[in-house]
Amino acid sequence: MKAKHLIPLAAFACLMALLIFGLINAKNVTIVPSALIGKPVPEFSLATVMDENKILSSSDLKGQAYLLNVWASWCSACRVEHPLFLEIAKSGTIPIYGLNTKDVPQDGDPPGQDKRFNAKRFLTLLGNPYVASGYDENGRVGIDFGVYGAPETFVIDKEGIIRYKHVGPITGDVWVKNFAPLIEEIQG
């Protein structure tokens, strides 16, 4: 048998190796990188969750570095990262603001409640790490931030530029690797 006849087999083996490599090293394709990194924070102005007469707006937040966390009481993964936020808030590392997304009354809620009932209860029961949370009832501010799920967390610097976005709950590991160094950099 001539070596020439082995070429198709070798080519096939290469292709298989490539595909297997791709499968094993596949990045999580459900995580879409943000198109807003390096861009200024979209303008927004929302009434807060805890006090509907108070307004949280992007212009109020200028001049400080902060985290913006997209959360909702219906979001189970938000409960996973919640204790970490409480810890960060307590340590005073960086102020955390909330964007409460589409937290509207659900089927089976007691009737006649305030529409913020679920969001308020979440913060009352689990603790409130947020300086303030904007109540984004229809998710439109979320769309301006390119949010496609909860939780998502943005790191915003003093110039109001979005520096980083994390999709999904922040674990201790993610915090140490991706957040802590960046926060140190932008706080400095």
């Binding site: 394709v29 459900t30 879409v32 990188p33 943000s34 198109a35 807003l36 979209p42 589409k102 229809n138 998710g139 439109r140 769309i143 301006d144 931030f145 390119g146 496609y148 799920g149």
Partner: protein, 155 residues
């Protein structure tokens, strides 16, 4: 008596309308609805990536469809709406990504492979044709003539 029947039938009808769940918001304008669906069919639902925005039932897709409708009602062009979503979600939201230096390979790759294939086939055919050509020597001619002549003698 007749009034009572009327009243009851009226109440009966009312009870139905009360029971009905809140309707999903749709455009009153079928032209806009069609335009929206055509556009959403070319956009990816980021929450459920194998579905288009037009076909997905995910709340994310429903919200974006509603926003597209409203933007169309406000008189925005398809291009303006597309730009709005690309600014926020990136090219990934489009099923037809634009031609950019970052994805030249994506667009050009298939054509490069096609040309490579043509070259391979062409070379293989050329080799085969070269192999098919058989040299006929003087000896072959002589033998052929002999055989033909032989046939003539027998007749």
């Amino acid at each position: 008596m007749r009034n009572w029947v009327l009243l009851f039938s009226l109440l009966f009808c009312l009870s139905f309308s009360i029971q009905a769940k809140e309707a999903v918001p749709t455009a009153e304008d079928p032209v806009i609805e069609q335009r929206m669906i055509d556009m959403a069919a070319d956009m990816r639902c980021l929450k459920c990536q194998n579905e288009s925005l037009a076909s997905s039932h995910a709340p994310f897709a429903i919200d974006l469809r509603q926003q597209i409708r409203e933007m169309m009602q406000d008189g925005m062009t398809n291009q303006e709406i597309e730009d709005f979503f690309v600014q926020r979600f990136g090219d990934f939201i489009l099923y037809n990504p634009p031609l950019k230096p970052q994805n030249y390979l994506l667009w050009g790759g298939p054509f490069i492979l096609l040309i490579l294939g043509f070259i391979l086939v062409f070379n293989a055919l050329k080799k085969r044709r070269a192999a098919d050509v058989v040299e006929i020597s003087a000896e072959d001619h002589r033998r052929a003539k002999e055989l033909l002549d032989d046939g003539e003698h027998k007749q």
